[in-house]
């Protein structure tokens, strides 16, 4: 339960910061940044949180189900913009997948370089 308490604490701190400072990021993401800072700063030890974190992240999809049901409930309100929405969402999603993935691969270090670096650091 110590892990859960820590994760909940950072999540709450993120929400508090979001509300008081009116940051343009959601509390969840602010909490994640704070939590990473605490891990890197060795304020929080990995073994304190690892089990709880693994439990939550391995079932991450579960927490999205309510949002999917909420989205389904809004379908009747789309009206005559169906074509725009379908084309926009599908086209843009695959465009982002392709552009991000391709650039990531193009900028990845070449096999040889990676091996050289591994040799040097070994």
């Amino acid at each position: 339960m110590r892990g859960f308490a820590i994760l909940l604490g950072f999540s709450l701190a993120g929400v508090l910061l979001h509300d008081t400072l009116h940051l343009p990021l959601p509390g969840n993401v602010i909490g994640l940044v704070l939590f990473l800072a605490a891990l890197f700063g060795k304020v929080v030890k990995l073994e304190w949180v690892e089990d709880s974190a693994n439990l939550l992240t391995s079932h991450l999809l579960l927490f999205f189900i309510p949002y999917v049901i909420g989205a389904v409930a809004l379908i009747p309100f789309i009206g005559h913009n169906v074509v725009s929405i379908v084309v926009g969402v599908i086209g843009s999603t695959f465009a982002v997948l392709w552009v991000t993935g391709m650039i990531a691969r193009k900028t990845a270090p070449k096999e040889k370089e990676a091996q050289e670096r591994a040799k040097l650091s070994a």
Binding site: L7, V15, A95
Partner: protein
């Protein structure tokens, strides 16, 4: 009967049971993604009980609340893969920046090309980021926050369900490119799916999700100024 349906235990039990069942079905029917299976089960049960679908999200507040600590928990895979992330920092930055710009521009152009309404256009622009960020941006732009949430969820489901097959087809199988693409395009849904692929893919996806949220928020600042 009505009181029973409004007990928080009803929504929680139904959602978790549907999730477990959908995951078991997914073992047999690989094409039926658990997010689609579980949502279908819940919708059928709600329809049979005559429960208004619109009210369901409010009934499972505990699950939506737990999304907070679950997002924070993504710091663990990021931290565990910090050495590889540090080595690929240039790749992460450039690809996430390009992906965020692509998301905004392509959504805008496609909605304009298909003559969508101005409200749909403004609500669609921030669709690649997770809904809490999308809501903030949409509100500031003058879009409809409800539409933004819906677009963000559809994007997530679409990317999470069909993204992996697409990425495999175009030859993006290495965990770094796979994770970055999934996290940039389909935020939390993409990250959940990437974690099933491998912890490395999951850590890069979580990183891309967080970074694209930050980058997209910043990219909209000049757009606000331009719109006045």
């Amino acid at each position: 009967m009505q009181n029973f349906l409004h007990d928080p235990l009803f929504g929680l039990t139904l959602t978790i049971a549907a999730y477990v069942l959908a995951k078991a079905v997914h073992q047999r029917l690989r094409w039926l993604h658990p997010i689609l299976g579980s949502s279908a089960i819940i919708l059928v049960v709600l329809l049979l009980l005559g429960f208004p679908i619109r009210d369901f999200q409010g009934e499972v507040g505990m699950l939506t609340t737990l999304l907070g600590p679950a997002t924070v928990a993504l710091g663990v895979p990021i931290y565990k893969h910090r050495a590889l992330i540090r080595e690929r920092l240039a790749t992460v930055t450039v690809s996430v920046l390009a992906g965020s710009i692509t998301g905004i521009v392509s959504a805008g152009l496609l909605v304009m090309a298909t003559r969508g309404s101005h409200e749909v256009l403004l609500s669609m622009l921030p669709k690649s980021v997770s809904s809490p960020i999308g809501i903030e941006i949409s509100k500031a732009l003058g879009g409809a926050p409800e539409l933004s949430v819906m677009f963000s969820v559809i994007t997530g489901v679409l990317g999470g369900v069909f993204g992996p097959a697409f990425l495999y087809k175009v030859g993006l199988r290495d965990p770094v490119s796979f994770g970055l693409a999934m996290g940039s395009a389909a935020h939390g849904f993409g990250t959940a799916r990437s974690l099933q692929e491998s912890e490395t893919a999951g850590s890069f996806s979580a990183l891309a999700m967080g970074l694209s949220g930050i980058v997209t928020s910043l990219l909209f600042v000049p757009i606000y100024i331009w719109l006045g």
